[in-house]
């Protein structure tokens, strides 16, 4: 890791003032579970690291009676796991991180802003994974863990966030603070597919920070997250799905949101699959059909066709889990 100077501000105003105006100059430190690895592998080489954990107001978790939640960006992943029944998709996603060390250290904001695990990126070939001559490495390389959806551009990595699909399924909004003050984006729009290696995978300016995630009322919402992981010990999912459903009095689906994780450069909203559930009673067949629709437009790379099957199964199982 390169040398850097370190500051630990106590207010969000100080924090954004200490952050640089272009990517690479400075990095914000929250749980550190990703940033320290990025630093050690020289994937980021900031001149200054700004520790956000001194900003106490950002770690609170509020769950008012209306079934909503205001989750501070610095709340630990463990705190999210403890949220109540209405937030099943979130707490199940948090529990998918089976390492207590990561759940204690890792923050909600950090989970959303962590960088891709693409092994070409992590080996130093850049976010878009190109060799010295500019040849793309993923299409002809070992792409077993890469994207099956949204992979028609140069970005072939998958978004690594555990919580993002659940937040998106629950229609969460992300509060962002910067020099111009506060703004809010829908969780689904927080994630972007970068066009160049110098861009980031999320809609932050270099001197902005995530301050809070607002989950609207979950009263009556049945949600779940299903991850396909090889091991029970800490492991990256091969595919994941979060769903959020509301049912009418006759147990027919009134609204549905389905979001896939680890399959595309961004958390992937499966609109058509969700639509297919509206008006139906959840059954194995209905869930399987939604699973099929969720990957209808998937496009396998040379070695990851199996992920299409896994994503489809994850959707099916998440739906069934949500109503069980």
């Amino acid at each position: 890791m390169h040398k850097f100077e370190y500051a630990s501000p106590t207010t969000k105003e100080q924090a954004v003032a200490l952050l640089g105006k272009s990517w690479g100059e400075t990095e914000a430190l929250a749980g550190g579970t990703d940033l320290l690895s990025l630093l050690k592998d020289y994937l980021v080489t900031p001149k200054r690291v700004v520790n956000l954990k001194g900003i106490k107001e950002l770690s609170s978790v509020l769950t008012p009676r209306d079934g909503s939640a205001r989750i501070g960006a610095l709340a630990s992943i463990e705190a999210v796991r403890d949220l109540g029944r209405g937030f099943a998709a979130l707490s199940q996603a948090a529990a998918g991180i089976t390492s207590p060390q990561i759940r204690n250290m890792g923050t909600v904001g950090g989970d959303l802003c962590q960088r891709p695990r693409c092994w070409y990126f992590r080996s130093g070939f850049g976010l878009l994974a190109k060799d010295e001559s500019g040849n793309a490495l993923v299409p002809n390389g070992d792409n077993r863990y890469h994207a099956i959806l949204g992979n028609d551009g140069e970005a072939k990595f998958v978004n690594p966030s555990s919580l993002a699909p659940a937040f998106i399924a629950l229609n969460a909004k992300i509060k962002i603070f910067g020099p111009a003050g506060e703004r809010e984006v829908e969780a689904a729009k927080f994630f972007v597919t970068p066009k160049s290696a110098s861009e980031r995978e999320y809609a932050l300016q270099p001197n902005e920070i995530v301050t809070m995630i607002h989950v609207p009322s979950t009263l009556g919402v049945r949600s779940a997250t299903y991850e396909v992981r090889q091991r029970e010990v800490l492991d990256w999912p091969l595919a994941a799905a979060s769903v959020a459903l509301t049912l009418d009095a006759s147990k027919k689906v009134k609204t549905a949101r389905i979001v896939l994780g680890h399959v595309a450069p961004v958390p992937w909203v499966a609109e058509e699959a969700a639509q297919s559930l509206i008006g139906k009673t959840i059954s194995e067949d209905a869930a399987a059909e939604a699973g099929r629709l969720a990957v209808a437009n998937a496009h396998a790379l040379s070695r990851n066709a199996y992920k299409i099957q896994l994503a489809s199964v994850a959707v099916k199982r998440a739906i069934l889990q949500a109503v069980s």
Partner: protein, 717 residues
Amino acid sequence: MAEYKWPEEGKRQHLGKRISRLDGPVKVSGKAKYSYDINRPGMLFGKILRSPHAHAKVVSIDISAAEKMPGVKAVKIINGPGFEIQWAGQELVALAAVDEPTAEDALRAIKVQYEKLPHLVNEADLSKVPASNLRPASTNATGDVAKAFQEADVVVEGFYGNDVITHCCLESHGLVTEWTDSNNVMIHPSTQSVSTVHNDLARELKLPAGNIHTHMDHIGGGFGSKFQIDLWGIEMTKVSQMAGGKPVKYFLDRDAEVMIAGSRPSAYAKVKVAAKKDGTITAWESDAWGSGGMGNIGSPPYPYVWTRIPNIKTKFQAVNTNVGPQRAWRAPNHPQAALITMGALEDLAAELKMDPLEFFLKNIELTGVRANTYRDELLKAAEMIEWKKNWRQRGEGGPGSTKTVKRGLGLSIHTWGGQPHNSDCDVIINPDGSVEVKMGTQDLGVGTRTALAIVAAESLGLPLNAIKVTIGDNRLPVSGASGGSTTIGGISSSTRRGSIDALNTLFEKVAPAMNTTPDKLEAVGGKIQVIGDATKSLTWKQACAKLGTQPITARGKQPGKEQLASAGVGGVQMADVSVDIETGIVKMNKFVAVQDCGLIIDLKTAESQVFGAMIMGVTYSLYEEKVMDDQTGRMLNANMEFYRLAGLRDIGEFQVHMMTGKGYDERGPIGLGEPPTNSPGAAIANAVANAIGVRVSTLPLTPDRVLAALAKKGGKG
């Protein structure tokens, strides 16, 4: 006089009991100092610049900026301009600085120009391997294979394989090295060979061997990869010399550890096997290949264990790849040979619609001298896993299977040698009654310290805590490297002889005072007494007091008089798995092992060895793969995130049964570290095939491979 031969069952105080390891307390409390934990005054930190390219020529190296950096004490080019790099991670420059961050900064200040050359890093698909990377094939034949296949009722052909895996020792390779004066070197390596690891260093430094002092108290894993001083050991000692002899600590970073500090060669084979309708195996033919990097590798033994199949034809070819070199990995070649042999035979049984247990038992004489052991072990293991109740024909799914989760059972048998290595041991009885055992051996976590204390205490009729064990230093009596499961036989034999010799000397000293002759004495329960007459006795302390000022020192040796240890064991393992056929994820339900290892010294640590081997087996069967990238020549998972090891809850229920008693004990101790690592891949792969009705050809059995096999099966109808 006391005799060398091991005491009979019923007369053993400690041997074969369940005894907690002596170094348990220092390990659980964090006090155990591994070589990686050694900190010395004024110590520098070493770093090595490694090639990012798999095959390239070094054009130029500029170390001037690094040399000028404050805090950098020495920079040394290991492989300079003109050197042809043969794998990514190969060493180019060594340096040392006052702290680790400074050393790392210096490393990044070095400029190297490379001329890239074409590389080959994957060999599973032999058709893509250039002829220039193929080593000459070796072949073997007995009987008439062509005729046997012609006359056979059933012939099965298949492809089986096992990708390269790495040792991934948790304590990486490395050492702390320093010049204690201009002529003497002290090293704290992480090594499997305390007594001999300094020899190559002495040669390289042109120092007398006696001028290098080696010390190591604990080692964080070796598994066959830590016998040598290694290039970094030599280079860092030279760097220490350049820095005025200051201590230098160098341990590999995790990426280098898994890239270049040892791997198990791949093994792939096309196999054809034949049988008569009644299940009698008649022929074996295999066309096999594999790679362990640039060096040559020998063929795994095909067919494994079933060496008396009447007609055998084999071919093996090693492939040169630009990958960090292989090292002995726990039972070299056996796990691969077991996977491929037992896989082909299980497929043959499935084709015959025979229960593989019945099929193995029917043919058991084809295993040769250990047929009876295997028969007993197969029946015992079958009882433990409830084979009869739980086994179903391939593809039917065992009891408890659902629409999406299929259960299956699989088995495998294995062997290993494990003859005792050479060993010297000093047993010292002090006039105050204290006893010391001194030996230049090492405890890899298998319980060597504990075994030494058990053997000495047993021999001298003392409690365990009466024995002080000192190991881990090359100034102690020389004992062999811990590899090939040779340690327990070697160290227990030399300690037994040393203890008995020391005891007999004590008998000679005290016999006159007891009005008897030495041949009438025995050491029992902390006393020296006339055989069979407890009324005529001295306490151990009283007896030792008769020594005056001169302690007894006896040097026990292996080999020596009378054979106390032997070689050659058999084992059986059976796996019960569940496969989620929608996701391809394999979960272990239960895994049982029945193992023979001759006379057991410590049942507790012996069982731990078997449990450990089985768990390592689950890991290599389901998760481990050194992923090499064709385009960049790099290892893509040089970490512990995507180089996956099983966790606590990934292993299922385990049971181990050790074969002991008559027919086993009289063979003396036989090494145990390796044999139980041989069968897991085969047993688990066979269980998966049994569960899902189709063979997944290659380990690890990852979801992509399981789903691909299922799709192929579906396509066939």
